[in-house]
Amino acid sequence: MDIFANLIDGFATSLLPYNMMMITLGVVAGLFIGAMPGLGSVNGVAILLPVTFLVPPTSAIIFLGAIYYGAMYGGAISSIMLGIPGASTAVATTFDGRPMAIKGEADKALVAAAVASFLGGTISIILFTLFAPLLADFALKFGPAEEFALMILAFSTFIGLGGDSILKTLFAIFFGLALSAVGLDVVSGQSRLIFGDITGFYHGINFLVLAIGIYGIGEILWTMEIDKGNVSLSKANVSLKRIFKAIKELKNTWGTVLMGSFLGYFVGILPAAGATPGSLMAYGIAKSASKTPENFGKGEIKGVVAPEAANNAASTGSMLPMLTLGIPGSPTTAILLGGMVIWGLEPGPLLFIDQREFVWGLISSLYTANVFTLLINIAFIPAFIAVLKMPFTILAPIIFVLCVVGGYAPTNDMHDVWLMLIFGLGGYLLRKLNYPMAPVVLAIVLGPLAERSMRQTLIGSHGSPMVFIERPLSLIFLIISLFLFALPLLKKLNLRKKLESL
């Protein structure tokens, strides 16, 4: 009951007209920041941080929370409309969102993304409200061994897919892993694979550079080849009736949404993981669990709702380690943390006790922000669709410019722009040869996390890999991933039996 009393007090704070205004402003700003490639929520929050000094701390953090939240929704927009991930968290949304738009179902994809984001966000806020202190202890149980087992689980969701050729999937994963090894080795501090001494490789290969290259530039090349110079218009329609119909059709996907929400939330609360791995894993699991995995990558609605539910759930989840442990779960929360420090709020286990008004104001504002974002987002859908109606000859140069800006912005380094163009070309060629590209992206995101946690565990155990199976949580993850690895084989055996019995 204590929780509900706190929450009601929190609503009393966040529903003040002034704070409501901050939420609306934050959500709209966030939506556009998220939709602009290269201006993800990290930069958005950083740029608008000074604005928040004009208002009281609680309003300020509510404002930043709303931007953060709006940006999570916004990332999906450019992923679906233009095929360029607007933010790192929305990469998995391009896999099926873009094909849906090409099929003329952009409005359906946008509605699906918005509703899934809303549900994912709401579910995770409820979990947050009920179990915050408990989950903080759970996050502490996660040591390097558990982290590594979780990463293995993530990889296995992408292998046990069935649809694509397993050999080609494996190749794609190893290719991504090789790319993720570029840069600094955390353990020895030495630089690796910097191709002589190219300073641009010192910071490793930013995975957004890879994703924008493959999906943005690759998409332009791909469309040019298919159109062969003909000017084509996307079939895109929108009407209230279509929107309602799209919402109704979503009832087939509620299982996927639930899975994405819970998974996203749990991955989000682990320090250092964050929303991007969460959304990629949700995509992989949605595909493995599907009866028709071959439809994924070709415009399957479940391939949109899973990552979108997960990334919003994870973004709420990653507030937990920030507030209770003082460890940001993502770069964005790192900046939020910086803001909290200057307002004199000390994150840590005592924040929930000493700063009740602030914590519960923030939590309740997440509920409000979620509802606002859904409404604002759906209201904007016709405007987004109008963009899609532009002829490709006009759209392609815009996409190209956005790609270059998106590649340059995170590091301010031209090196990354060239790299992105090379990846675009390479990705296009691999795609012509039917190599799946999603596993490359997955590997470059998870590779560094997996490598680091494995080496930390093995240093601690003096080289004995037994720790991975001695620790219960890690053992559970490994058993599940073993099952997922074996799944394609089991499916094949089953198929053969069926054929023989015919």
């Binding site: 000094f53 040591g143 955390v186």
Partner: protein, 330 residues
């Protein structure tokens, strides 16, 4: 009537003249004081979320909040290669007045550990803002309450004692090396990505001890989850009055600091240098900075100009010796 006109004219002439005179005086002023004409890149030689990053973003917030600079400071993380990326970047920005960099001790150690073609003597010193301190921490569930008990436990573990810290060759590993060199004990050193993650792993019992900065453990310490057993400082820290220094326990010269300074690229005109020194002097004197440094037990240590360069060069030699003792360089 006529007289009035003359009066008005005369008044007008005086007004014009005085404006000119005022203008004459103000022109030299506006030429002398350099101000940035576009946003200033505030390079951080570490990744996002770590201690250096958090501090730099706090400084950015203080500058923005109090309008210490007509143009904003935009933080950019260049943490690759233990700061090698950032050092090379600043070197290439020679003479660019719109870049400054927040440094930590990898400012000395990175160029010593690998040849990246950078000599820190060439950079333009701006200001040293603070010296951060180190303590020896264990989980509060541990029975260890003193350095002697700690050393006994580490010896008993026979090299299997897990010390967590930041990357190999960085500050935490040097402090660990100092402990090992002095007491002849062996740890298994596990490198993590940042001090915050190190602290969390100590509380989760995934490692046995750390040498965190106060700011990294403060939240857990206040919640009674971690215990400091000794400080690597010359005097006791205000925030930890019950924690003895290594010196008090009879272990002299076991002092280590993390410097938090700001530098600019080589070849910066002195008026530009003066502008940045002015901005950071204001940060140093701001109420927010004083409150933060007190809360986090971070020692304010203002130093600028040639004294700062001398400090850097002296510290570089100290680190050369530490790295040699740790077997990192020859």
């Amino acid at each position: 009537m006529k007289e009035q006109m003359v009066k008005a004219k005369r008044w007008f002439a005086w007004a014009i003249l005085s404006i000119f005179v005022a203008g004459l005086f103000s022109i030299p002023g506006s030429v002398m004081a350099w101000e940035p004409k576009k946003p200033v890149e505030f390079v951080i030689m570490a990744g996002q979320g770590g201690g250096a990053d958090r501090l730099a973003r706090l400084i950015q917030s203080i500058i923005a909040k109090n309008k210490f600079s007509p143009q904003p400071f935009i933080p950019i993380n260049k943490g690759g290669g233990s700061g090698a990326e950032a050092l090379r970047y600043l070197q290439d920005k020679k003479g660019d007045p719109h870049v400054v960099m927040a440094t930590l001790n990898s400012y000395y150690t990175t160029p010593l550990r690998s040849n990246i073609g950078v000599d820190i003597k060439d950079f333009t010193p701006v200001a040293r803002l603070a010296l951060d301190t180190f303590l020896l921490w264990v989980n509060s569930e541990s029975s260890i309450k003193s350095v002697d008990e700690y050393l006994a436990e580490v010896k008993k573990a026979g090299g299997k004692w897990k010390m967590g810290g930041t990357g190999t060759g960085q500050e935490d590993s040097l402090v660990t090396g100092m402990l090992e060199g002095r007491f002849g004990v062996k740890h298994t050193y596990i490198p993590f990505k940042g001090g915050g993650t190190v602290a969390k792993n100590l509380i989760g019992n995934h490692i046995d001890s750390t040498v965190n900065n106060p700011s990294e453990q403060m939240g857990f310490f206040q919640a009674g989850k971690s215990r400091p057993i000794a400080a690597f400082t010359p005097e006791r820290l205000e925030a930890f009055p019950d924690v003895p220094t290594m010196g008090e326990l009879g272990h002299n010269n076991m002092v280590y600091f993390m410097q938090r300074s700001v530098i600019a690229p080589p070849g910066i005109p002195s008026d530009v240098q003066d502008f940045y020194v002015g901005v950071f002097k204001k940060v140093n004197d701001s109420a927010e900075w004083i409150k933060y440094t007190n809360d986090k037990s971070l020692g304010r240590a203002w130093l600028t100009g040639n004294d700062l360069t001398d400090f850097f060069l002296k510290e570089r030699e100290v680190h050369r010796k530490l790295l040699m003792d740790a077997g990192e360089i020859k």
